[in-house]
């Protein structure tokens, strides 16, 4: 795992990608800092600069992850990794950590800005530290999406575009969720669709009709049971689910200085889930 991490990290600086990412990120961070904090004489760093930066890494993360698996496929180096005496998930983890490390390092450089600000006013350090942690976790979650997407294709461009698209969607879930229908009926339909989707996914990975049928049935039964016991659950279920799923809505907890364990667990399991998906995807090639 460490070998892969080291190799990926080095590659960022052999190819220009690492420099471009750092340069782009720091440049825009600098601009937001100057306009958001310096010109406006604001000391509210967390809300001024950091929140504005989310958009930047929505745009920049695909840059970090687009080549991470596509290149292995294109250069046929995949076989080297697939015949190495280490499990696939460790290879994936190594790649993920390399991207996160680069991202984390770049983020660390921007700590200069609040330090500069602190000469001119009282800083709310807990808030800022909270923001940074949240920021890092959010970036890791986006990275894990990117790593997964790059394992799906052997073209860097499509990997970048699809990642950008997915990251944008997760980012916009907040806006979308407010406009979702709130009625009980829509909630029930949503639950049914979810059950159907789950059944299909199980079928897709296991090709076992009975098992997926049972999953679907279980989904229907649970929905029915909840309908009988407590109808209220279905009220604005879509919005609630989307909000729970939303990466960014959780992010806004951190600047408030609230480091909730559940949020931390959420982000980490999000990454874990995508690392798992990626390993599955790669393992599946052996069975093609």
């Amino acid at each position: 795992m460490l070998a892969v991490l080291k190799k990926e990290f080095k590659t960022y600086f052999i190819t220009p990608v690492g420099y471009i990412f750092m340069g782009l990120f720091l440049l825009i961070a600098g601009i937001t800092f100057v306009t958001g904090n310096v010109f406006s004489m604001s000391e509210d760093y967390a809300n001024g600069t950091l929140s504005g930066l989310i958009l930047v890494f929505v745009l920049a993360i695909p840059l970090l992850t687009m080549r991470i698996y596509t290149e292995e496929q294109r250069q046929k180096t995949e076989q080297l990794l697939m015949t190495a005496p280490i499990p696939t998930w460790q290879v994936v983890l190594g790649k993920f950590l390399a991207a996160s490390l680069l991202f984390g390092m770049t983020l660390l450089v921007t700590v200069i800005f609040p330090i500069l600000l602190s000469f001119h006013g009282r800083m709310e350090w807990p808030v800022i530290i909270g923001s940074y942690i949240g920021f890092f976790l959010l970036g890791c979650a986006f990275t894990s999406i990117g790593v997964f997407v790059s394992s799906l294709t052997d073209s860097q461009a499509s990997a970048a575009i699809i990642t950008l698209f997915l990251v944008l969607i997760t980012w916009m879930i907040d806006f979308i969720s407010g406009y979702m229908p709130q009625s009980n009926l829509s909630g029930i339909i949503f639950a049914l669709v979810l059950a159907l989707f789950l059944g299909l996914m199980v079928y897709n990975s296991s090709r076992n009709l009975t098992v997926s049928g049972l999953v679907l049935l279980a989904g229907l039964l649970v929905t029915g049971a909840i309908l009988l016991i407590n109808k209220e659950v279905f009220t604005s279920l879509i919005t609630k689910s989307l909000n729970w799923f939303s990466l960014t809505s959780r992010f806004y907890n951190f600047p408030r200085g609230i480091l909730k364990l559940s949020d931390l667990v959420y982000y980490l399991s999000f990454c874990g889930f995508f690392i798992y998906l990626t390993s599955r995807k790669i393992e599946k090639k052996r069975w093609s």
């Binding site: 190799k7 046929k76 190495a84 052996r286």
Partner: protein, 314 residues
Amino acid sequence: MIKAENLTKSYGRHLAVDNISFSIEKGEVIGFLGPNGAGKSTTMNMMCGCLAPSEGRITINGIDIMDEPEETRKYVGYLPEQPPLYFEMTVTEYLKFVGELKRVPKKQIKEDIDRIVNLVKIADVKDRLIRNLSKGYKQRVGIAQALMGNPPILVLDEPSVGLDPKQIIEIRNLINELKKDHTLIISSHILPEISAVCDRVLIINKGNIVASDTPENLSKRLTGSNKVYLRIKGEESAVRDALSSVAGAEHISVSPCQEEEALDVTVEAEGDEDIREKVFFALSGGKLPLLQMRPMEMSLEDIFLNLTTVEENA
């Protein structure tokens, strides 16, 4: 050491390897021979754990490679059909990475690199970017990669493809060197290479093993030593007359040759009889000068074509 039992691989509907079994002893050098698309690379990929068999199993030292992939992969060094090279690294960086990936202890990585770089003769390019190496050198770096960690089994998929004749000989020497302390499995289209280095040849066609024997036995099995090649000066009819008087001579075929007024003739004898003396006297009796005579052994090329075309007719 390696055992494949009822190995089958199908890509969707397409059957690439069809129920083949073989076993390879420690220290053996095995050649996989077969036309394009025969299933050589697919078989090798399965042996190295890159592909999972659709059916059947492969064991290394008695351990099923699907049960303990991480353990069994340690024993195998693999050069895939396309050497898995990171073009943006230098040769040393690359070999170091491969060593770390294979979990070779740090100290041994350094020793391995020094040893291997000299063995495969890439010492003079070891600080150059892989991107800038010639095809032959890239191929050698690929072999070097397989050697990292000194695995007892080496699987080389067409190690000399695309190399010039001089380099092919060098690779052959290298393989003879590696033979001393490795079990080797090599696939190739270049038949002399296989017969020069292998103890045993598996001829694969359309996913099946059509023959498995030593190179010498294979050629004996297919011809026996009863075919004689002759070059004779004279008219075709006179030659035919003289030869047909030889008792036991059958299947006389005559073709023109590049020497003037001469003919290339092959004569096949019935059974195992040696007809060379009789042929000589018959020709001298007919005043037909004999320019050349040698018993014909089928080359591996002939065997190869023979077996694979026979298969085709079936």
